[in-house]
Symmetry: C2
DNA sequence: CTCCTTGACGAACGTCGTTCGTGACGAACA
DNA sequence: TGTTCGTCACGAACGACGTTCGTCAAGGAG
């Protein structure tokens, strides 16, 4: 009588929480696209069909993982409404960017998970506290959500590449990571300087990250712009 | 001797242009995810393997389709540098949003196709013409590219749903299209008003598009914010 | 004419998301 | 106690996918 996974007691029962956490861990490891149902199930020592007890489909699973990544985002408490808004946005971006390309999981539709909703609520609250009219608040939060998604998607894979460069056990990925900006730079370098004088002139600036300072700058642009509206 | 597709003269030869154009048409029809190599090939009356003569892989094909969508974007000539920058950005967003979720094709990496490069060049040129310092120009164009991608991705599927509602021949998709915002609204409606007072209060504003006016507002926010930097 | 290159593309492979059917287990009921 | 029902677990299988490899046909060069 061979040991069969169908024999119950040897494994703890699955739960939606366990499944979602496993999905997030697999995304960390291999990215959203490669995080197949089979991989997630394997991480749980089961088969892919088991996951469907807890999620309707792969999309739901990945969205849940996305929301889970935001569980640790704490609402800021220090400073005026603008400080708090900027801190909140930066924290959300950072939480997502901690997980490689996780932002891809919620890029095609408005995220509606519990954590994202509480963050949305807080953004709206802060905007209203800042005296911004309600119609503009609605549009502003829309823009901020765009900013969050696109920033997380920019920073996430970059963060990941940096981590992999720093990890000697992953030297095989080193060439790929170091080339993250190298590929873009190579394209820019190959352009005709006559036809592309601006890109040519700014090339070094376009391909060297700028890190936290750049991110803070971009967020400041958006918020200053919001404040500039009548 | 059955007629075989291997018999040459009955079909015009493929070309990269034809393959990319077919891909864009299929994306228009079914969206990026469903635009499989098989579907694109079928649109060309051939098999999927034929496409690999012209593109290395599916990613390259979709990116090329993305760039093709920008072929018709003309650089603005009227107004001061700010007018032209805003017009350019709006045109790029509109060109992408004309094609459903095409923006997904270039969401994970910086687009580097010929049309996108000429647009990037023009953005940089205009920013410099506006007297913005080079380091800030680099960051600004980065932010504008984020804005373009996320806006196209927001507007594209919405545009598509609207077109499908307006098309009586596609009545079967009507319920889905009409529910585009309905689903979000349903989630918001189901929230506890005590826990989510802001979302509850602003719900009508959050789920009714705002259309062109909102898009113009958001772009103005970004550009005003750029101008506000020292 | 022969040889080489290139375009064309079918067959096949490995992988994927998902469904369906079956088994195991526990709770409820008679 | 035995039976029934509901739920979790999950293997087998299906249809679809991206891609590779091998073969054929056509055209050009020598």
């Amino acid at each position: 009588m061979p040991a069969s996974p169908r024999t119950r007691p040897a494994k703890s029962a699955l739960s939606r929480e366990a499944v979602v956490a496993a999905a997030l861990a697999v995304v960390d490891e291999v990215g959203v696209d490669a995080a197949s149902m089979r991989r997630v199930a394997a991480a749980l020592d089961t088969g892919p069909a088991s996951l469907y007890v807890y999620v309707a489909d792969r999309r739901e699973l990945m969205e849940a993982a996305h929301d889970l990544a935001l569980a640790g985002v704490e609402l800021p408490t220090a400073g005026d409404w603008r400080d708090r808004l900027e801190q909140l946005v930066a924290r959300v971006v950072a939480a997502l960017a901690e997980h490689g390309d996780l932002a891809m999981a919620a890029i095609a539709a408005v995220p509606l998970g519990p954590h994202f909703l509480r963050i949305t609520e807080e953004m709206l609250r802060l905007l209203r506290e800042g005296g911004i009219a309600d119609p503009a608040c609605a549009w502003a939060v829309d823009l901020l959500v765009q900013y969050v998604a696109s920033s997380a998607l920019e920073q996430g894979p970059w963060n990941r590449a940096q981590r992999e460069i720093a990890d000697p056990a992953r030297a095989t990925v080193e060439a790929m990571g170091a080339d993250f900006a190298g590929r873009i730079d190579a394209v820019y370098a190959g352009l005709d300087p006559e036809a592309f004088p601006a890109i040519t002139a700014l090339r070094p600036l376009l391909t060297t990250g700028g890190g936290d300072e750049r991110d803070a700058w971009k967020l400041r642009v958006v918020v200053d712009g919001l404040l500039a509206q009548g």
